[in-house]
Every structure is written in C-alpha cells, then in structure tokens.
Subunit: 362 residues, 2 copies
Amino acid sequence: MMETPYVLIRQDAVERNIAKMAALAAENGVKLRPHVKTHKMPHLAELQLRAGACGITVAKVGEAEVMAEHGIRDLFIAYPIVVPSKIERAVRLARNVRLSVGVDSLEGAQALSREAEAQGVELPVRLEIETGLRRTGVEPESAVRLGLEIARLPGLRLDGIFTYKGAVYKGAATLDLKAAGKEEGELIVAVAGEMRRAGLAIEHVSVGSTPTAAYAAGVPGVTEIRPGTYIFNDAMQLRLGVCTQEECAAAVVVSVVSIPAPDRIVVDGGSKTFATDVQPNQPPLQLCGFGTIVGYPDAVLERMNEEHGVIRMSGPHSLSIGDTLSIIPNHICSTINLHDAVYMTDGRNFQRYDIAARGRVQ
Amino acid sequence: MMETPYVLIRQDAVERNIAKMAALAAENGVKLRPHVKTHKMPHLAELQLRAGACGITVAKVGEAEVMAEHGIRDLFIAYPIVVPSKIERAVRLARNVRLSVGVDSLEGAQALSREAEAQGVELPVRLEIETGLRRTGVEPESAVRLGLEIARLPGLRLDGIFTYKGAVYKGAATLDLKAAGKEEGELIVAVAGEMRRAGLAIEHVSVGSTPTAAYAAGVPGVTEIRPGTYIFNDAMQLRLGVCTQEECAAAVVVSVVSIPAPDRIVVDGGSKTFATDVQPNQPPLQLCGFGTIVGYPDAVLERMNEEHGVIRMSGPHSLSIGDTLSIIPNHICSTINLHDAVYMTDGRNFQRYDIAARGRVQ
C-alpha cells in the first residue's frame, strides 16, 4: 500500500539516465564509478554496473558494507577513513572485495597501513586533492610530498588520486559548468603528472559531480568519473540546466490535506520528507521553492515544517483535499536518505525497493 | 559499538527537562500532552507520561501506530487526516486506544464521520484554528460555522480546538516569546468562547510550542499545552533564550577526519547527520552555523555536504585527526529523524534505543 508521502521512481527514466552517463563515459574513454550515496540501493547499483560501470563509489564504510553484502565487488570509499574502528572494518571488507579508500593525511594513511599489515592485506588508497571546494583533500602543491610518504607505507598501494570540485554549484549557467569541469579535470591531471614525475604510479585520476561530468571527462588524462545524482536528477540539476524535467526520474508523491485559502495548499510532506540541504549560492528557497511541482510550473512550495508543505498557488486551480501532487525535490540524494523505501514503476506496476543503506552514516 | 556520527542523550538532562515542563503545566493548571515527533521513541514517551503527561501528541497516523504498539493509550494526531486509507487506519486504531484527531475542513470531517460510522466508533475530533502561522487550520471567524457543521456529523464528537503559532520563531527575544504565547492563548480562548456560546461543548483548548509554553499556559481558559522540543532542546532554543546549554540534552558526536588548514576542521557528519531545516527569520547559517560545538564557542560549523561538516576555527586549537566533538544540532526534531538509534548515558553506561517511529511520515 503506497501511502503518501512516498518516493516514486520512473523506471524508464532511470534506465535512460544510466545509459546516457554510461555512453558519455565510453565516448570519452573514461571509467564510470557512480556514487551510490544518491540512491543507496544495491538493485540500482547493479543496473549501473550492468550498463558498464567499473565499480561504485560510496562515502562511508557502512554504505560499503551494505553494498558488499548485496554482492557488489568493486568499491571505492571516497572519504578519509581515520577512526580505528572504521579502519578495522574497511580493511576487513578489503579481504573479500576489491576495495580502495581515500586518504588526505599522513596520520590517516599510517593508521590504515598498520591495520592492513595486521590483517595481511594490501589496501589500494587514493589521495584526495583539493581543487576549490575547501573541504577535505590535500593542496595540489603538497600532493607529491604526501604521496611519496604514503607510497613508502607498508600494506598500502597508492594507485590513484581523486577530487570533487563541488564549487561548481556557484554558477547556474552551462558555460560555468563547462569551465568548472574543464578546470577540475586540468587541475587534477596536472597533479597526476607531477606525482608520476616523482616516481609515483598514479593509475586512477578521478573526478566527481553530475553537472561537470560531461566536461571533466573530456580532459585528456582524466581516467574516471564519479557522478551520483544523474541516476535520478533533481530540481537543482534542472535549474543548472543539466537535465530536462522528463529526465528527473524521482519525485515525491504527496496528498493535499488542507486548502485554507484560495492561493494556499498544504500537503502532507515537509522537512521530514523533502531534504532542505542545498548547495550554497542557489536562489533563495522562498523564491525557487523546496521542489518543482509537476504540472504546476507557477506554484511554489514556499514553506515547510516537519510534516507540512505549504504551496503558494499563482491563480485559480481545481485541486481538492485528498488530491495527490508529484514534487521533484531540490536535492534527491539527501531526500532519498529520509525514506525507508521507494516505489519503482514501469507505468503499470509498482515495485517496492528498500533503501538498504539509508542512514548508514557510520 | 558507538561509531561516529551518533546521537548522544544525557539522561539526567532529559529527566530534568521532562520534570520542568511537567511542573510548569501543573503550576498553571493545564494538561501537558507532549509532541513526540521530537524523539519518536516510546521509551521517552513513557517517561513523559510517568511524569504526569495526560497523553501524547503525534503528527502522523504512522507515528500513532508505533506508539500504540508500544503501549501508549492516549494519543492526539494534531494533523488533518483526509486520505481514505489513513482515515481507515486512524479509526481502526481508535477502537483500541483513546485517539482523537485534528480536522480543519468539512470534507475531511465528513470522510472521518463515514468511516467512524462504518467501524462503529465515536471518534473525538478537535478543530484546528489558524492563529498566524498560515499553514493548516480554519480562520477564527469561520470556527463557529465549521464547528457546528462538524458537530452534526454522526460518529464524531467535536470536543476541542487546537492551534500552533509557530510564527513565534520570528523574534529571538524573551519579550517576543511572552507576547506571542499570550497572543496565541488569548486568540484561541476567544474562539473557544464563541464556539461555546454557539452551543458547542469545547472541552480542550490546546496550544503548541516549547518557546511559548510558559506564556500560553498562563492564559486563563487554555486547558492543554503540546510542546515537543523541550525534552532535548537544541541550538535554536538556545538562541531564543529558552534554555541553557546545560539543558540541551542531545548532541551529535562526530569525529575529526581531516584538518586541511589551521583554521579548518572537517568532521564526519553533514546534512545526512544534522538536519538543515530551520525556522525562517533565524540568522544566516553561515554566521550562526549548523549547530553549537560544545566547548568551542567561537568555532562555527559553517558548511555541510552530505557527509562532511566543515568547521571554521577562530584561532589556535589542539584538535587532532580522530578526536571527537559534540555538536548540539540547530533543530533536534528533524535531526533525530535522520538516525536509526540514539545512545542514552547516565555518565557511565550507554544504552541504545531505536528511534521506533523514525521515518513514519505516512
């Protein structure tokens, strides 16, 4: 029984999105390692692998464990794993699957090295490079020094570098995306060159992000892309011009529970149903809304409490209490993480899929 | 094994918060019906009931079902229940526990009436009154007319009215809270008076919100308060001056995973760990941060991605990679909803409690 609010996935759109990104990677001669934090569902990871992905990307050890339990054999944790208990879990996992992990500090690498030695594993690691997001990652000018130090540690094999230049979300024009993707690719390829000249065997040169994938993949020397959102797309991608509304494969279906005024409609989904984290420098949410309401381009989901979504209607409408609306969330990755399951439809039948890695932040 | 990030609850602070609100209700001669959407845990609802709460408030039928399964016998769904499948579930529940539900439209009340008749139940309902939030609820001037219509419907017993004037969050000064609480109470008491003069038996006159509880409870004629956040408090309540930091009973414990620059620390909790929904008219998050970092009053959790929290340090610090920090979230209700469990501590031992109603938005 599908009670509102629930996440509805259009299977044909998902399949087209998967095929499109797989083709983009193939055309550019790069590997595709999708970030599964967007969907957190082994079933969708398998569809991505069947379409040609070389493996998957995850953010946390807990996500990796869930995916491995469901049969995924090639995983990269694009995150610094530094806590001893998590390192123990990651190395244990690496005994059974092809697992590599991110590093961005010597302390972290040393702890990984000790545990890999203790468990008798050679653990592939990739050094994270900072390219403008000012989050994790080592500054490009420190990459050679730290890379050489890591390469000397027993139990580890430094075989790649990676970055995520999320700062792309600053701009909203296609031209900015092109420039940002190109810049991201060129920056990290330059770092790879320096590290190789210092004798390091950098096999993987990996970049992130759905909106820049098309441009970063085209930079010679980039070997891998790690987009995540593309499988569903969302209202942020729509505003960035990265996808069409037809390519937004996921929406939240809500019910109208109250129509207290002619221009105001209240639905049964709020901030426990729609994620409210958006990238900085997006338009104010009161203007662009907390999602895109399918079929009502002028209506704005302008306010939310935990279980209420308040929609401002722009004119006369024929909606009644009990009617349903489909709303494309601003940020699908964190929206999916609020739900226990999604419903996938081929237009006739509905199949429930548990979001197996939901909440696996540990 | 408590892996970061995890929610840590200080048991003594929870118990003091529960006792304090219970005392406030008793002193003012009003009933206390805490909103359990904040914690979503039957164990904590039981503590509230044992301290004198008359019953609990929930937002959704799914929350009510979970609480009833765990033995809670007196529940109010402070939400318009209008979808047939949800009405069927609510009325079914009402056959086994004392359940009342919110209404704010004749259509909704008629549907409830039909189902209550069909299942042979007399369902208590409360009419929601709009007092400034512009969300759900009927305008005060329409309350008598709609109340009379609802009172005529078979299967229903209209025995109360309720409101939630969340607009209080506009101001951040104690004086505003006092005025807002008083206004909320006086508005709804006036409506109750008009409805009684029209012959309606309005027994329950119920108001919401932790910050206004102390002031709304003092308005003669208010019979019940429904605060939720007070059990834990959070950084928003702290900024409103409603609680002290010592009274913030819940924090998220995170690990430092990267220190890429002297003034920048990255922790392993982002927007999948800390809720990002805040009430409007709060200071910009870049300034006040996404939470209050215990022991580091000048440090600001200024940016988040899904699994990264970026903290700007104000000066020299002695934190190292792998250290843990406790962060009081801005909004605890929606933060709890991101997690599967919490850990409660008496200072020595740690007890895990599942968040049984997490994600029960249906």
